[in-house]
Each structure stands twice: as C-alpha cells, then as structure tokens.
C-alpha cells in the first residue's frame, strides 16, 4: 500500500512544469516525445503488473479460497462474502488486538516524529565540523542492524542473570526481573529500541533541510537581537515543519501496519496479552498455521488497509485545512 504514496511524493513537485510543456506542445506533433514515453513504459508496466494487477487477488478475502480451484473458481464465502470480516471483528480478542496495534503505533508515531526533529535541531547547532559528522554517523549507525539482531540483543541485554539492563538496575539497588516478559514494559521496549535504531536516520532528512535555510534570515535575526533559541523557534522550526507534517501524514497511513517482524520476534507467552497485533495474528492464521487460511488472512489484511487509507485521507484533509501542507 505504501508504494503509490512514495511515487506521489517524488512527483509532487513536477505538475507545474508538466502543465507548461503541455501548453507549449504544437498540435499535430503528438509523437514528439515518444521515446520519453517509451522510457516511462517499463515503469508503468511494472507498477501495473506487480502493484495493480495483484490487487485483483484481494477477491480471495471474499471467498473460501483453496488452491486447487484457484482464485477465481473458489466458492464465495458466506454472508455475501463478508464471513471472514465478520469472524475477525467478532473475535473475543478483536478489541485487544486492535488496541495493542494502536498503542504501539501511536506511541511510535508520536516519538518517532518529534524526537528526530529535536535531534536534528541540536545537530544543526553544532559548530565544529568533525564533531557534527561524528555525532551524525554514530547516531544513524544502528539503523543498519537487522531487526533479528536487535531483538536478539534485547533478549541478551534483558537477561535475568547476566543482562546489562538488569546489572544496571541491580547496581542502583533495584530488583532483577524478566524485562522481556513484562506486559507493562513491552511498548516501552518496543518504542525505545526503535528510537535507538532509527533516531539518527530519521533526523538526516531534517538536518538536510536545515542546511538549506537561508543564512540571511539568521543574520537578519541576529541584528534584530534574536538569541539562539529564538532563532531555532522562529527560523529553523518553520523551515522543517512542512517536511515534518508530510512525514507525519505518511506514518499515519501506516498506523495499523506496525512492523510485524519486530513484534513477532519480541513476543513471549507472558506478553501475548499486549503484544498480539493485527499483523502477528494474520501470520498466525496464515503462514504460521498448519492449515493456512489465505482467505481469512487476506480479509484481515484488507480490513487493515482500508482503515489505513481512511486514516491517511483524513490526516491529509485535516493537514490541508490547518497548515496548507498536504500530500496532494
């Protein structure tokens, strides 16, 4: 679902130019840019074949799919095709699953949007070149560690007897505990480790924007007697706000699609009550099951996507009204 959005972002600055060329093109020379269109063709074919065409397969969400009869011959599901959706929303733990998903995603979005901005503003204030580079490199290095390794590290660090976290807690007089088994800490560990990993990386885009801020503005502000904080507040922050809003809207669009791998890897029997989210449940009934239920899993996935799209459109709408920044 996220691919079309990315394309939108990249092309969003182009429409005006494109309109210009259209107007200037003399009529009767329709094929003038044929080779350009040909160049474009592979991408269009690719997107159509691999992104739009497979959407037809979503039909299995409304069917009782079996691979012998195939996608189109399989019988329709009960309740006018909506049986699988009904089964899902009437699950006893449906609300728990949705709640868990929302808790993790809202917390992630909140921290992952705000903290990188603060980090970027701070990095931007560093005047010593080599120090600035070092800080940046160190802060984004963890981004390249794979999720499996990160979760492995979490389990090791939280080890009851030898884990560094427990050693620190014990050194300050606290009692050792199984951190990875704690329901209260699950969301915190999830978000905090995510920040550790991604903070520097997410800040890069803001640092880049900040370096493009017109120095004249700063000089003028200094002449007007503005201090550092005042300049950050009145110049730097407004400069990166549009970018921040776009990033925020995009992350809203992925609200219910919290990273499956990490949550699944972090799950223990003890935390299932707070860690079972939509995507891990989909995995459990489809690929993780001895008898994969593709239709049921597809129905849940579709449910997920529809809500994501609604959230995305709403967030975009609000943003356009309030701040005049929007995806489209």
């Amino acid at each position: 679902m996220s691919h079309p959005q990315k394309t939108d972002l990249i092309t969003s600055s182009l429409p005006q130019q494109a309109e210009g060329t259209v107007k200037r093109r003399p009529s009767g020379r329709r094929f003038r840019n044929l080779s350009l269109y040909l160049l474009l063709l592979p991408t269009v074919v690719y997107v159509f074949l691999l992104h739009y065409l497979p959407m037809g397969g979503l039909i299995i969400a409304f069917k009782d799919y079996n691979s012998f009869q195939g996608i189109f011959q399989s019988p329709w599901a009960g309740m006018g095709g909506f049986e699988h959706f009904y089964s899902f929303v009437t699950l006893p733990n449906f609300w728990a699953i949705v709640r868990n998903t929302l808790v993790l995603s809202v917390a992630s979005i909140a921290f992952n949007t705000v903290l990188p901005i603060i980090l970027a503003l701070m990095i931007n204030e560093i005047r010593v070149g080599w120090f600035k580079k070092t800080v940046q490199t160190i802060s984004y290095a963890p981004y390249f560690i794979s999720v499996v390794v990160v979760v492995g590290m979490l389990f090791s660090f939280s080890d009851l007897e030898r884990g560094i976290f427990n050693n620190i807690i014990a050194a300050f007089g606290g009692t050792r505990s199984n951190l990875m088994e704690s329901q209260n800490l699950f969301a915190f560990i999830y978000v905090a480790s995510g920040l550790w990993q991604g903070l520097g990386w997410w800040a890069i885009i803001y640092v880049g924007t900040l370096s493009n801020v017109d120095q004249n503005l700063h000089e003028a502000a200094v002449i007007d007697g503005a201090g550092r904080l005042r300049r950050i507040w009145c110049i730097n922050l407004p400069a990166i706000l549009p970018m921040a809003i776009i990033m925020f809207i995009l992350s809203i669009g992925n609200m219910l699609s919290v990273g499956f791998e990490k949550v699944y890897l972090m799950q223990t029997d003890s935390t299932l009550a707070v860690s079972e989210i939509i995507s891990t449940y989909v995995y459990r009934v489809s690929l993780g099951s001895r008898l994969p239920e593709y239709s049921y899993a597809a129905a849940i996935g579709l449910f997920n996507s529809v809500i994501n799209i609604i959230l995305l459109v709403t967030a975009n709408l609000i943003s356009r009204r309030v701040s005049e920044t929007s995806l489209w």
Binding site: L38, D64, G70, L91, P92, E181, D269, S270, L287, P292
Partner: protein, 566 residues
Amino acid sequence: MKRKILSFLIALVLMAGASAALFGCGGGETYDPDNFLPAGTAENPWQIVKEPVTLDIFVPRGGMNPPYREMKMFQKLSELTNLNFNFIEAEVSTYDNLRSTTWEDKNNLPDLFLFNNTVAEQVAYSQFGAFVAFNDDELTAGGIHVGNLIENYMPNYRALLDANFNIDTETDAKKVAMLDDGYMYSTLSVNDVPRDLTFKMFINQQWIDNINEDYPDRDLPDADEIATVEQYIEVLRAFKECDPNRNGKNDEVPVTAKSMEYLSNFILAAYGYVSSDVEVKNDGSGLVYTPVTEAYQKYLETVRMMYQEGLLDNQVFSITTDSQMAVKGYAGRLGSFCAAAAYITVGMDLEDQYVTFGPLTSEYYTGEPLQWGFSNFTASGATIPTGTPYVREVARLLDIMYSELGTQLIAYGMEGEDWTWDDEAHTSWTFHVPADWAGTQEEYRATITPNVGTASALYWSYDFVGKMNDPIITDLNRMSERYMPYLKLPVPEELKFANADEYTEVSRLRTNLDLYVRSSVSDFVRNADQTVAEGWQSYVDGMKGYNYERLLGIYEAAYQRYLQGR
C-alpha cells in the same frame, strides 16, 4: 530518425522476448506405456523404465540440505531405476505458498508430492478428484487401465501394510491411510524409532549421587526410581538447596524447558493428560478439552508452585531456542530438562551425567503412567496428483522407498559406500563420514538424504536405524525405549473430520485457543498474588468465548465415527 526506429525495434524485441519467457510453451511428451517395466529386468530388478523418463517431484527442503539432485540417495535411485528426477524444491518458510501456486497451475502439476502431505488437503481436494487413489481397482492413467497400484505394483508396501509394519500398536495403518470414502490418497510415513516417538526428559543422576553422598539424610531416589511428581519435586528441591554441582555457589537451575509445551508434556502427564488440547479420556469413552479439566488446574498449581519456589527456571517464558537453554547446560547448572538428546543441551563433556526418567504419576492421578507419543503412521508420505500418466512408475519408485534398500538409503545411504555391517550376522553397522569432512556427522548425512532437520522419510525403520554403532546413539535408543509401553496419542491418528470446512474451522479455533491458553498459563504461573483457583473461573469463561465447546464437538463427532469404524 534511423536511431529512433532502431530504439523502437530494440524495445519491440525486448518486449517480445519478455512475453515469450512469460508465456513460454513447453513441449508435451507423449506417454509410451510399453516403456514401463512392471518387475525390472533380469540383471536389475529395480529398473522401472527402459528408456529414461523424467518425473517432476515436489519436495520440502531443509536448511541443512544441498539441492535434491545432489543428494546421494536420489542419485542412487536414479541410477537403479533409470528414472530422472526434476525436483521442485520448497524451503520450509515458503513451502505452503509454493505448494498452493503449484496446485493452481493445473497444466504443470508435478508427478508426485513427496513428504509433508496433509490429511486436510486430501479431504479438501479429493472431492474434486485431485488425487490418484492408490487402492482404486478401476484406476486408469496414461490411457490404459492400471488398476490397484498397491496390489499390482507395490509388493513391499502391500506386505508391510498387511503386517501393520510389524509394529506393536493399536493404531491401524490402513485406517490411518484411508479417508472416509475408502480410498488411500497418500502412502504412509512410518516411524518406529523410539527416540523419535516422544519427548525425552533428562535428569542429572550425578547430582543425585552427589547429594546422597553429601547429605545422606536426604536419601534421594535414583533417576530410575522417580515415579511420582511429588518425588520429583523433592529431588528438585534438593538440587536447589544442596549445591549438587559442588561449586560453592547457589547457581543450580533445577528444571528448565524450551517452552512450557515441553514441560507440560511430562508434568501434565502425571495428572492424567498428555496434551494441552483435545484428548481421549483414559477410559476411551470420549474426548475432553484438557485445559478446562480439573487435572489441568492441578497441573497449573504444581507448575506455579515450582516457579514461585525457584525450582522451575524463572526465565522459562523468555527461552525460545535450544541455544538459550544450552547456555546454562554447558555451564553445568541444569538439573533436569526436556530435549531430543542430552548432548544438545549440555555438551559432550557433561552428557553422561544425564539419564532419562519417568513417566510420572501423582497423588491426584494414580492410573497407568502416560507419556505423550507421536503416531507410528501418518498419511503424509506421498500423493500423486491426477493427470500424470506415470502412476505405475511413481508407484514402483515409492515401493522401493519402503523396501529394505529404501529404508537404508533414506536413513544413512548406500551399504558399502556410506556405511558397512560390522559383522556377518548384521547386528550392527558403522556410518562412515569421510576423514576430510569438516562439518558434523548430521551435516554430512544431509548430503545423502533429506531426512535431516525436516525428518522426511517414508519409512524410518528401527530395524535398521536401531543398529547403528555409535555409543551416544545407542545410549539414546536405550534410554528412549523406557517410554514405549506408556505412549498415549492425544487423539487416534485414524480420526478424520467430515469435510474441508471442519478442518478449516478446527485450525482457526485452535489457533485462537492456543494463544489464549499459552498466555493464561504464563499469567497463572508467574502471578504470585493470585492462586490458580482464584483465577480459574474467569479463565474457563474466557475459553468458552473462544468456543472450545465447538472444537470439542467437531472432534467428538469424528471420534464417534472412528469408534463405529473399528
């Protein structure tokens, strides 16, 4: 202009090439019935076809294995039978997906699905005539009447079926293979090797000896004599209190497990049930969903007490891999654990301290001791999709895999090349790993057979496997045999649900219930403030919400059909 035409032409050529690759048409072979040899030739009784023919075989591939065509076993089979094999290999993680897409493409179905077949699929697809029935007297294929494959072309398999594979069990091999319509769509996977028929529970006999030496008044029973869960807990308490590893530190972990499932298998068994699922009552009168039984409550109380006293490893809910368990095992800190073999958990140096024990009973359950057993037979061996003309060829190939040669090939390879008999009487044999082989013995075995990691075999025969000359394996065999008289299958393997919908429903109900039970067990055991009895009612109510009664109902109906069919 010329250049434009040229680039346009190039684009056209590229597109044409791409579409040819996409919709490429394969040449169809015509089937020659006379190429088949029903009984081989005078020189080579194994030969199946006069001129080489290629069979497409869909197989699961384990992480340790090389591609199938490089495995010695299939090279040997190809050499003996004159058949060539084209394998469609599915890694474990993508197996179901690939199998689905393979089924969808009706024009390119393989000639054989080898290993990992499911009864659910057979029930679901046989209604569309998707499978060749092995026992269909009216079978035609490739334009000729071939009749009953088992009767006509599988003499080894037929003899073994008639003899119930010479296994002393109540399970009826034929009924396991047969669906309610009377047809066998799959051959059986057969396993009578004790060490692969149950979980094994190990305890440190050395520690018991040490304690009896240091604290004579404790008077602990030997591992062999531990018969009840109460005795077992006394031993664990001594492990906790008496520093049996004699390092002066209180670092002993009396018992641990990779997940609660493994632990429940033998502690729950002491209370009369072997699984956290639907299970046959011990008098055979019907079925019960064990997580709602009183026995299960007793079991939870015991495990909770063990956890709260520190007898059960307090990290048990964070342990998910063998290697996590092995950290404590290698350090000589484990008193008792569940594993496939002791050396995996504690290493070769400490391996000989550990022996198997159990099964246990308890004050609550005083009947015959029980141990969770896996079925000797499963209808998962091999299926032939309808449409292939090569059913007789495939049937003979499968039959070889059930022969003495086949059971040897899939286990340890070719006599004289990979292993040799130690004596004339064939009482034991030795496996030969080349001296320059850098990896482990199992890694070498993976170059011979797919029976590594994935446990894929049509016939994993103790008659051959049990004679391996290897001290650790021999020990393991001996220690596993103690469980054999007590094995209990949670539900009979012959039991089949009525239709595909029931399989789907059972699968979904079980996914939800399993999640709930696991989460609840963890809550009960870890919660120091609430006893099991206090939380029991709301737990059972929760289970009703997940409709365990429906699950039990589907099973019960199937069980009644099974009883009537006996």
